[in-house]
């Protein structure tokens, strides 16, 4: 399709945003969906529409992983090789695909059927090892299941649009309540009719008809709801920072840029309970006086975005969004904004920069978003899960929510258990649940192996050894244990795990995903990865271990956002807690271990 034929659709996209430049990512998506890649002509076209120089368009295109500047295959197969997938055999999966397609990652088959890409965590670790074929997630594909992988490859080579043998899997492996996951298991319970039949939107109705914004904030504060994106900041307190005397527009932005390796909970909410998110947004927007909300969804989440859009359309149709909601006089517009492949955009200020049409660069603070956020206006950014807790709090009262948790953190969390467990999945539990209990809920360590270590809160969190897991999973208990609750991504490693290779995987992730803005992070993440990679190649020295600890220490606390700190923590905790293993590896390389057998290939890390 020619660019001129896209102008009407571009016009519709532009109307969704207060400032034209904010339409950058969706316009680039529009071009890529229709032309397969973003050509120089398209960059110029987008720049013209947005009033932005072509250089700045190219900056954006080159920053995000999902945009192609050159023609690619008719399909794209993205294979995740992030830590949770590697623990379950991603390297073997990628190797099979490579040898079958006879291309390496970054290359396209000679017939232009498919482009193979190696990607960082797609946040579907419950189906690890997994891949993404065009828009859909597919998996698991353990490397020993040759036939299943061959089916995937046949799908990848087929013409887009034909019948395919690898659907996106359902149902999910997950828990059933009490707060966030009550609707996950029932595929018929997702949409508005079923949601309202179960009492959905009653909290929103109560709020709109009988409560002041201040009362709502007070209720959420009383519930001890903490920010579940990872930082754990009290949500009600955050809302209270919005200036009430300002005439400027206020924005609610929902962070659905789920990207922390080992985390996949927001996807469940988006797909299986989108109205809980929308009802929570309605309440939050009312509390902070916002009439425009954006949901920033990571670019790889196609089906979650489609399902949320369907729920949004339903809500508009039934008067739960739009003008004069349910006759209350309150207005709220909701717009989905697609990301394009950059982990850093999950950082709240990077998310805002990205939403405004820039590269995902975190912003200097002060000012904080509550004072000057999106388009320079007061803005609250909350994670999907945080917002999804809000209807429960307003429906059942702050006390009911807070008493589920600990003294400083109310409620439950969706814990994402991945790695070497029997049943990886999303398990909701009170935040006081212990890490050991969670591993057991997921069926314990698979194949009767012994537990070696667990990462309790996504790949950034400091690792805990097998005898450190009797710790409650709330923010404060895990901080006390020297780690963090983070995003709730629990990555389980059994005795066969090689910590050096696990660290290499984490270090590669941070080197890939650093935005490159601050020098300690830009240079430090790459430096760390090169050293660890060199060690895995058998060229390590004992000095490297001390250097790594020193470099990690130098990276901490010196950057605009905490990405560099997050990159430092795995280095520090893996080396400190498994120093003997690192030294043994440096001394003997992998030679002390058995050669890769078919079985090892399933679990090469």
């Amino acid at each position: 399709m020619k660019l001129t034929d896209l102008e009407d659709r571009a016009e519709v996209i532009l109307r969704r945003y207060e400032e034209p430049k904010a339409a950058m990512l969706p316009l680039l998506w529009l071009v890529q969906e229709n032309q397969g890649h973003v050509s120089p002509e398209a960059e110029a076209w987008v720049g013209r529409l947005l009033g932005v120089s072509i250089t700045h368009v190219r900056e954006v295109v080159s920053f995000y992983n999902m945009y192609h500047t050159e023609p690619v295959g008719r399909r794209e197969l993205r294979v995740c090789t992030s830590l949770p997938c590697r623990l379950r055999g991603a390297d073997g999966l990628l190797e099979r695909i490579r040898s079958s397609l006879k291309i390496s990652p970054g290359e396209t088959t000679p017939g232009k059927e498919v482009t193979l890409t190696e990607v960082e965590c797609l946040c579907a670790c419950e189906m690890a090892p997994m891949a993404q074929l065009d828009e859909r997630f597919v998996g698991p594909f353990p490397p020993q299941e040759k036939e299943a992988i061959e089916t995937l490859i046949q799908d990848a080579l087929s013409e887009p649009g034909g019948p395919e043998a690898t659907p996106e899997p359902e149902p999910y492996i997950c828990s059933d309540g009490p707060v966030l996951s009550t609707r996950f298991k029932d595929p018929t319970g997702t949409w508005l009719e079923a949601y309202t039949a179960d009492g959905g939107y009653s909290a929103a109705r109560k709020v709109l008809t009988s409560m002041t914004p201040a009362q709502v904030i007070e209720e959420v504060m009383g519930a001890n709801l903490r920010g579940l994106g990872g930082a754990g900041f009290p949500a009600g307190k955050k809302w209270s920072f919005i200036p009430t005397d300002s005439a400027r527009s206020k924005y609610l932005v929902v962070n659905a840029d789920e990207g922390e390796p080992g985390t996949f909970k927001d996807r469940y909410i988006l797909e299986r309970d989108p109205h809980a998110l929308l009802e929570g947004m309605l309440i939050a927007a009312y509390a902070i006086g916002s009439h425009k909300a954006y949901v920033y969804i990571r670019g790889e989440y196609f089906r979650p975005a489609q399902r949320l859009q369907r729920a949004i359309d339903e809500a508009y149709g039934r008067g739960w969004l739009g003008k004069n909601i349910q006759g209350s006089g309150f207005d709220l517009e909701v717009v989905i904004h697609p990301g394009a492949g950059a982990y850093i955009c999950g950082e709240e200020t990077a998310l805002l920069t990205s939403l405004e049409g820039g590269k995902g660069f975190p912003r200097l603070k002060p000012p904080f978003p509550a004072i000057s956020g999106l388009f320079g206006c007061p803005t609250i950014v909350n994670n999907v899960e945080t917002i999804a807790c809000v209807p429960f709090i307003l429906r059942h009262g702050a006390a009911r929510f807070s008493e589920i948790g600990t003294a400083t953190q109310g409620g439950t969390r969706l814990f994402c258990v991945s790695g070497h467990v029997v049943r990886p999945g999303v398990y909701e539990a009170p935040v006081s649940v212990t890490l050991r209990e969670l591993v057991e809920v997921a069926g314990g360590v698979r194949d009767g192996k012994k537990l070696k270590a667990v990462i309790p809160g996504g790949i950034s969190a400091k690792i805990l050894t097998a005898d450190e897991i009797d710790v409650a999973m709330d923010f404060d208990s895990l901080r006390g244990a020297g780690s963090m609750a983070g995003s709730g991504g629990v990555i389980v490693m059994d005795e066969s795990t090689c910590m050096i290779e696990a660290l290499e995987s984490a270090a590669r992730f941070f080197a890939d995903e650093s935005c490159g803005q601050c020098s300690p992070c830009r240079e430090g993440t790459g430096w760390v990865h090169r050293i660890v990679h060199r060690i895995t190649e058998g060229r390590g020295t004992f000095q490297d271990l001390d250097d790594l600890l020193a470099i990690a220490g130098d990276m901490e606390g010196k950057t605009i956002c905490v990405f560099a700190d997050a990159a430092a923590w795995p280095v520090q905790s893996y080396i400190t807690k498994f120093r003997d293993e690192f030294e043994e590896y440096i001394r003997n390389g992998r030679s002390g271990r058995t050669r890769r057998s078919e079985e090892d290939e399933a679990c090469p890390v």
Partner: protein, 549 residues
């Protein structure tokens, strides 16, 4: 006015001041790469980390607003360790090719390593490879490997020129600056990115591999390329002529002046200075002993020239026909010289004097570049040497052609360009005395009876008044080339030969005389003008141009 303590000393600064500014105010230099006072705060290089009591982490001084009672340590062990760490990161992938880098000697990586680093490097990995020797545009070269991604150049093209040519592509340690493929950095201010680049990533094509910076001498001056009068430092070599093919001027750098050019220079001004060393008029040319009196085919001495000219002038004065003398001065001359011309020619001899020459307006914009390419039109106006206080040059030429003027002296202006060769040739034949004084060879000087070599403006002291009414000193950079002499010196000697009582010995004294005579300059001296200039009493711009700040 919050008060804070920096390194044990208390200081009060206006609300909204950042720690880096407050420290600077009290003479404490906090190192910086990305911070530039003329650009927005980026906060990405992290070298300005300071310790602030009661804050858990080190803070970047560039983005930290001062608060009452804040206690800052810039030299504590924690702060120094932070800077050391940041430097080590910045240098990790840096190629360390100082021996072949033009920035060497004025590089903040080198400087800060010596001042704040001095660690034992630990980086032993393969460095990230990026592009080297990329020609970004007509004036600027890029070395991506040397770049520390401070984004100053990006912010310059976004915020100052608003052209947006430079960007940072990709991310992580693959990030690199550049322009969009197939485009060039060619805005009228492009070379400023070289000045603000704190390292050797952006260098000047014109200066490429020309000289080590420590061989350069520097002197303050102003640009004479247009009526803006941008302040600049001229970098030159006298003792190593091989470095620059014999030319003395190697490059210029903008000199900060908040009221004129802030930190910037236009490319037109920056690269418009070749004439100072090229095709200069270096010897006195006159009719000679026997040759045709109508051309200056012969070499002469200053004594011969000024003797002959003053003799003619004295004759006309004695006959009380001063009005038959014409002088076409120039708005490229200094106030001091214009004042002497006025004193000698207009007031003492009664000549017709004009500094109002026909010129097509040049390029201009709403920033620094002015259409009037003369540095001192405002000064000439304040001295009543332009229309309507003085005749236009065209009228003097017409009068001369009509036979009403016998003696004509042209200062610097190329009559051939303004009036055509035919008319000037005619003048040469008609006039009894036709003197041209100027800095460079040109057709007018070839047709005059006498060609007097003048010093270039950077070879003399003096003042200009810019379009906004700011009196600024030129500042003599080096001596006049060859036999050339400063116009003020020529005029003083001439006055002496004419027996006039001119009690001044140098531009400084002439200026005091001028300040006595003209109310616009009343009370000024070189001392009060200083190196940033002062506004004249009434300030009305000659062009309706406002700078964006």
């Amino acid at each position: 006015m919050p008060s804070l303590t920096i390194d044990g000393r208390e200081v009060s600064v206006p609300k909204g001041t950042t720690v880096i500014q407050a420290a600077e105010k009290m003479g404490v230099f906090i190192p910086r790469y990305c911070y530039h006072p003329g650009l927005s705060v980026a906060g990405n290089c992290r070298i300005c980390l300071v310790e602030v009591e009661n804050l858990p982490k080190l803070q970047v001084a560039c983005n930290l607003p001062v608060t009452e009672g804040m206690v800052v340590h810039t030299g504590s062990e924690q702060a120094e360790d932070g800077r050391r760490a940041v430097l080590e990161f910045l240098l990790a992938n840096h190629p360390l090719d100082c021996p072949v880098c033009d920035q060497s000697g004025e590089c903040d990586l080198q400087n800060f390593y010596m001042n704040f680093g001095l660690y034992d490097p630990r980086f032993r990995e393969q460095k990230v490879k990026k592009q080297k020797a990329v020609q970004l545009g007509p004036h600027v070269m890029l070395d991506q490997e040397r770049c520390i991604l401070c984004s100053r150049c990006v912010r310059f093209t976004d915020e100052i020129t608003k052209t947006g040519e430079i960007g940072i592509f990709q991310r992580g340690d693959r990030a690199k600056i550049g322009v969009y493929p197939g485009t060039e950095l060619e805005n009228p201010y492009s070379a400023n990115v070289v000045d603000i680049c704190p390292v050797g990533a952006l260098t000047e094509r014109a200066f490429r591999f020309k000289a080590r910076v420590w061989y350069l001498s520097s002197a303050q001056t102003v640009c004479n390329g247009c009526s803006q009068g941008c302040n600049m430092d001229m970098h030159y070599v006298l003792d190593r002529p091989h470095l620059n093919e014999g030319a003395r001027v190697v490059r210029v750098k903008p000199r900060y002046n908040p009221d004129v050019n802030q930190w910037w220079l236009c490319d037109e001004g920056r690269y418009g200075l070749e004439w100072i060393d090229k095709a200069r008029l270096q010897e006195v040319r006159g009719p000679g002993d026997t040759a045709n009196a109508d051309t200056n085919s012969g070499k002469a001495t200053w004594e011969q020239a000024l003797g002959a000219i003053s003799k003619s002038l004295a004759e006309w004065k004695a006959e009380d026909v001063g009005a038959r003398i014409g002088v076409i001065a120039s708005a490229k001359l200094t106030n001091e010289e214009l004042f002497l011309i006025r004193e000698i020619f207009r007031d003492a001899l009664g000549a017709q004097v004009s500094a109002w020459v026909p010129e097509d307006p040049g390029t201009c914009d709403e920033f620094l570049v002015k259409a009037d390419k003369n540095p001192n039109t405002r000064g000439a106006t304040l001295l009543n040497l332009t229309s309507p206080d003085a005749p236009e040059a065209e009228r003097i030429v017409d009068e001369a052609l009509a036979g009403n003027i016998d003696l004509l002296w042209v200062f610097g202006y190329d009559l051939v360009e303004g009036f055509g060769e035919q008319k000037v040739r005619e003048l040469g034949e008609k006039l009894k005395l036709f003197v041209y004084s100027g800095t460079n060879e040109n057709p007018t000087q070839a047709l005059a009876h006498w060609g007097l070599p003048s010093a270039a403006y950077v070879e003399k002291d003096g003042t200009f008044v810019n379009h906004h009414g700011r009196v600024q000193r030129i500042g003599r950079v080096f001596s006049p080339l060859g036999d050339s002499r400063e116009d003020w010196r020529i005029l003083l000697e001439l006055g002496g030969l004419l027996g006039l009582q001119l009690d001044w010995r140098d531009p400084q004294e002439i200026f005091l005389g001028l300040a006595d005579a003209e109310t616009a300059f009343a009370g000024m001296s070189y001392g009060t003008i200083g190196d940033q200039g002062v506004e004249v009493a009434c300030t009305k711009p000659t062009e309706g141009v406002t700078a964006p700040w």
